[in-house]
């Protein structure tokens, strides 16, 4: 492409993409920086919805209408293909969200915490317990340690 001219027309034509990027990055920030697993899932949802909005906004035609046939040959329709893609993506998205939340529930029940920092600590403790069990010749001690993972 030729050199980009940052005039008002260009900004009006592109500000919506930038806003979607801002929303996307907010979702990414929540996913990366927050320790709580439920909050991470919310962040992923935020990111996902922003991607949907980006796709749909690319399919919009100025002066167009929703892609439902009106019978008038002069009607301009917005692009229906992104709509089809995103429609199925939303439903698959809720299915995967439900799966993620189910995993969160199981993690919470098994370890007694859904905070990432605490989970990493518990994991370290478990690793340490396993190693010491392997090192010591006393039989049965390793099993006893494994039996109580959510000691916190």
């Amino acid at each position: 492409m030729q050199e980009v001219v940052l005039d008002l027309e260009f900004i009006i034509g592109h500000y919506n993409y930038w806003l979607f990027v801002i929303l996307m990055m907010t979702g990414l920030y929540i996913t990366v920086s927050r320790g709580n697993l439920i909050k991470k899932v919310v962040g992923l949802n935020l990111f996902q919805t922003s991607v949907f909005m980006l796709y749909i906004s690319m399919g919009k035609i100025e002066g167009g209408t929703a892609p439902i046939l009106t019978g008038d040959p002069n009607t301009v329709y917005s692009n229906p293909l992104p709509h089809v893609l995103i429609l199925t993506a939303i439903v698959v998205g809720i299915a995967t969200t439900a799966l993620a939340l189910a995993l969160v529930v199981r993690i919470g029940e098994e370890f007694g915490s859904i905070e990432e920092d605490e989970l990493i600590e518990i994991e370290h403790e478990l690793d340490f317990a396993e190693e010491s069990a392997e090192a010591s010749p006393v039989p049965g001690q390793g099993d006893a340690n494994k039996g109580e993972p959510g000691g916190k």
Binding site: I68, I90, A95
Partner: protein, 145 residues
């Protein structure tokens, strides 16, 4: 939620229109906005509302978990069955030309069948996931929220 009488009455009033609306969205998906995905979710919402207000036990008496399990696979089977029917009578997989009188008539019927499969699967999947979450014993009481 036995003490929330307003919630109970209002949700009882709301559930029948929600189901009727879901059926409208299901069968009018080819004329206006709507279709199997949306109708399935709206249909599921009616049952989820009932489950939230009156308890999951009451909901699973209306719709037993065995029915949900069967319906989940039935929807996919209807969809794939439409495809295999076309295959068996000598067309390509999911070629609706084999249904009914061909042409637009065949397309309408093919779309209706396929959307019905999608609707049944989505509705029962959403209800099933809700039941799976809600029938675990919650740690919280009403006041904790």
């Amino acid at each position: 939620m036995d003490h929330h009488s307003i919630l109970r009455v209002v949700s009882k009033l709301l559930i029948p229109p929600i189901i009727v609306y879901a059926l409208y969205v299901q069968w009018h998906g080819d004329f206006g906005p709507g279709g199997g995905f949306q109708a399935g979710v709206i249909f599921a919402v009616a049952f989820i509302l009932y489950g939230l207000v009156f308890g999951v036990e009451a909901m699973t008496e209306v719709l037993p978990t065995s029915v949900i399990r069967v319906a989940m696979s039935l929807g996919v089977l209807i969809y794939a069955g439409t495809g295999f029917y076309a295959l068996l009578v000598g067309h390509n997989f999911l070629d609706y030309e084999s249904i009914g009188h061909g042409g637009h008539h065949a397309q309408e019927w093919g779309i209706l069948l396929v959307e019905l499969g999608v609707g049944i699967t989505v509705a029962s999947v959403m209800i099933g996931i809700f039941v799976a979450f809600a029938s675990r014993t919650p740690k919280l009481k009403d006041e904790d929220w």
